[in-house]
Every structure is written in C-alpha cells, then in structure tokens.
Symmetry: C2
Subunit: 308 residues, 2 copies
C-alpha cells in the first residue's frame, strides 16, 4: 500500500482514534502520526503505549503541519476543537471526523475552517462497547462500512485520497447526504442504544427488589441489551443531544408500536403476536445474508460459567 | 455418570428437547429415550437423524413406560398434552417441563396428573435464536442455570434425581417459587424480548423508506436486537399470553423510564443522560464478573463482511 498522507493529526485518542492509528500503521498508509487528547489519562496511556509517533500539547499544535486532521472527539466537542485548530491548519489540508451525527457536526465545524482546507465529514459504522486509547485494534474497520459526506463542490482529489485511506483500513466506503445519514442512524443506532439503556436502567432498579437475580440470570435475553448499554456515556449523551429530532421521532414510532403489542398481549390477540414475530425473524435472516452479522447461534459467544 | 432414568419420554422435539437428548446421551444419563412431536416435519427430521431411540405415534404412547417425562412443547400447549398423557402415566413416574412461564403451566398441567406421579416444573435458562430438532446441541446447558420449582411436599428422592439429571447435563440448579420466577423472567427475558421484537418491527417499517439501509448498516447497534427477535414465534406468543400481568407491569415501568429519558433529550439535560449511561455501564461489568457473558468486545463475534 502506498502512503496516502505524510503527516496525520488525530485529535481525541479514544476507541475509534486508536483503532484508526493501528489500522493506518497496519497498511503503512501514513507517515508521521501526531496525537492529542484533552484527557491527561488518555495522554499518559498513549505515551506509555507509544500509540502515536508524537504527542502534541494542544490540538492547535497537533494540526500545524498535518495533511490530514481526523477529529475523533465526542460530537459535542467538535465545534470547540474546530474553533481552536482553524487558524493553525495548513493550506491544502483535509479535515475529517468520525462523529455519529453529521448535520450538527457540520454546522459546528465548517464555519471555523479556512477556505483553503477541504472538510469531508465521515462516520465509520464500527465500534465496540469499550472506550479509550487502549480499546482500539487494527481490525475494527475490516468489513465495516464507512460513510463519507462530501459537501457540494468538494475537491475530488482530496475525496479520492480519503476514500483510499478508509479502504486501506479495511472499510467499504459509501457516500451519503447529512440529513439522510442522521435519520438512518436514528433508526439503526441511536434509538436502539437509547432503548437498550432504558431496559438496562429498568432492570437495575428492579435488581434491588430481586436480589441480584437480574445479573445472575441475565443470559435469558437481558444481557444482549447490556452490551450496547455499556457504551461510552459522554459519546452517547452528545449523540442524543445532537440528533434530537430524528431520535425522538423514531422513539415516538417505537412507543406507538410497543403500545400496539402491549394491547395484543392484554387482549390475548395471539395471531397478531405470531405474525409480528414471524416478520421480525425474517429480518434477522436478511442481516445474516447481507453479511452484517454472524449466523452462529448466540453470536457464537465464548462459553461462560454461572457465577456461584 | 450413573444412569438416572431407564426410560425417558420427551414430548415436543424442538431446540430445548433436542439439546436435552444430546446432553443426556453425552453423559449416559438415560436408558431408552422415546420422542414425540405433533409436527410431521419435526418427526421426519428426528427419524432421519436418529435423534431418539424410539419415536411414538402419540404423546400418550410415548409416556407409557417412562420413568421421566419431559414436556418440551410451547407453554400454551402444555395443558392439552397433560390432559392427553395423564391417564397413561406410570405410577411413580416424574413429570417435568421446560416452559419459560411457570404459574400458568402449573395451573394447566397439575390438575391432569394422577396423584401417584411427581410433578416438578422446571426452566432451563438457555436457548438460542434457532428452533426445531436440528437446532439442539449437547453443550446448550453447560454453565447455564436450570430453575426447578418443586411444589410443597415434593418427593425428595424424585427431586434429587431430577437435580442430578440437570447437573449431569452441565447446568447449575436453583430452586424458586413460581410467582417470583415469572416476575424475574418478565424482567430479564420476556420484556427484553418484546422490546427487541418491537424495535425490529419499527425498523422493518422504516426499511421501506430507507431502501435496505436498515439491514446494510445494522452493525451500528440494531443487529444486537435482531438476534433475540429471531426467536421462535409460537414459543414467544405463548410466553407473553401466559405471563401477561408481569410482562405488562415491566413494560409499563419501561415506558415510564423511556419517557423520562426522552424528556431529558428534548430539554437538553445532558447530566441526567450521562449519569444514567454511567450507571448502565456498571451493570454490564457486573454481568461479566458474574460469568454470565463474555468480556470479549462485540460478544467476540466472528468477523462479518459488508454485503455489497
């Protein structure tokens, strides 16, 4: 693989950033990688692990000579970082990000960037329930989608290069329009996360009543929710606050549907329930056929032991 | 392992039943295993695979000489099967079941059993999203819980023997009272399943709008819900109809909590969201520490490819 960028700056050194760095290194896609994170703990861990070639004292210092700047901070922090780095960006540089919401990030970031810089928002559809600089791994993007949202009139050469970077890191790139992106993500990611958080919160309340049984017997279904409800709290707070309208719309649809199913249970409408559950079973099949999940029973989970 | 029962009858030959049979054979816990299923397809598959030592033409014929009868049919079918087999049970036999709801099964089954038979309801907390006689495997119960619900004055020898059977199949046995069981299962299993079914149903509706994107990008969170929403429709219809009160109560709690989080999103109460998400993250940790789920990121899923 040819080097695509001589100098890359990565701002924010969490799960996605550290995976980016490992994946760029795996395919030798970047020359020097300079990192910065506002958290002293993240900086200390990155230093100890030799995560980056260099660590800068500030976001502004990190981007100074960079050909590519990747913003990997929580969505709510993007605007502040853009404001800080704007005056220090190199002419001709490309700025991209990995935020899970796009309209609000574009609105927050774009005004701070000088006209001689190309801004191409991005969103790799990948992650785990872990966070921080030690959670990353080179394979995170393998076989996953990365959405890019180039603005009208985006420099084609800069776009080609960024596409090549993501492809080189194992992802498949697709382009999308910001508002559509935010709606799609509300359906497939943001609403499911909020619902998982809610279910886990309810069970936690009841745990006090049921004497640890919620944890003990969680393999009966509940534990599936706890994985995504273990995702980074700051990241997800910002996602919901920045994709408010689409998320609330989908949650409204969800509540309507939940009420219809509750009514079917209450009135004993077994046919309605059976038809509904047959339809949802077919969707799982579609996802497996599309290569988006494993067909192995129970996600092919490693065997676990009961906690006596 | 000593043989615990000379003749076992298994009524219903789905995922749990076929796993039972494989697990009993693995440790040589049973002599002859006779099976019966009302589905002609299941019977044909069981015959072709040699799943049982013998297949009977009816539930009544299957139980005739059995020391142990395991009822492995959907919860809503338990009463009918009990009525049919009642007059044909051997004096001294033990009858047990694997239903996910206990109060309604006890009410439906117990009246049909003669007094010289011991009824010990059971519920192995194990399963996958697949169903039918070919979905079973000997390891399903390894490291999982099996709840037994012996009635007052239950024959201690019969109970010891059934406990030994489950232990021999790899499970850890715990005793519980039926109403408490149904409430615990509503929290950790029934409500989460209904919520997953609902979320997948909503996304399916929207899929028509978003042109397959729901499936394509499902790895962003949604796919976690689709696994449990792919579970057997008949089984789950019966679970909800037979654990109506507890399930509706938990769903009511869930809706309250969801509304509180929606309000926090709408009003921009980031602190409330952050605190909530921090609390739910701790629960995941508890589950992993209790050995009830894998700590591997993303459930240690096998790598999947994007469906181009």
């Amino acid at each position: 693989m040819t080097r695509l960028y001589d100098r890359v700056a990565v701002i924010g050194l969490g799960l996605i950033a550290s995976s980016l760095i490992h994946a760029m290194r795996r395919a030798d896609l970047a020359g020097t990688i300079t990192g910065y994170d506002a958290s002293a703990l993240h900086m200390a861990q990155a230093r100890e692990d030799g995560l980056c070639d260099m660590l800068a004292d500030s976001a502004a210092a990190a981007v100074q000579d960079a050909d590519l700047v990747m913003l990997c901070v929580p969505v709510g922090a993007m605007g502040g970082v853009a404001e800080e780095i704007g005056p220090h960006l190199r002419p001709g540089a490309t700025v991209s990000d990995v935020g899970s919401v796009k309209r609000s990030v574009i609105d927050a970031v774009a005004p701070h960037l000088p006209p001689d810089v190309t801004f191409i928002p991005g969103h790799p559809m990948a992650g785990t329930e872990y966070s921080g600089p030690r959670a990353g791994f080179a394979e995170l993007f393998d076989g996953r989608w990365c959405l890019l949202l180039p603005p009208e009139g985006c420099d084609p050469q800069a776009l080609r290069q960024l596409r090549a970077l993501w492809t080189g890191m194992g992802a498949t790139v697709e382009e999308m329009e910001p508002d559509h992106h935010d709606l799609v993500c509300a359906v497939i990611s943001h609403a499911p996360h909020l619902i998982a958080y809610t279910m886990v919160g309810v069970a936690d309340d009841l745990r006090r009543v049921t004497d640890q049984e919620v944890i003990k017997f969680s393999a009966a279904g509940f534990r599936d929710f706890t994985r995504i409800a273990a995702s980074d709290p700051t990241m997800w707070r910002d996602v919901f606050l920045n994709n408010k309208d689409a998320t609330l719309e989908i949650l409204g649809r969800f509540t309507e549907e939940l009420f219809a199913l509750q009514r079917a249970i209450r009135t004993g409408d077994g046919d309605m329930l059976h038809d509904y559950f047959t339809r949802t079973r077919a969707i799982r099949k579609g996802i497996i056929e599309a290569g988006q999940d494993t067909a192995a029973p129970d996600f092919g989970r490693a065997k676990t032991r009961p906690g006596e």
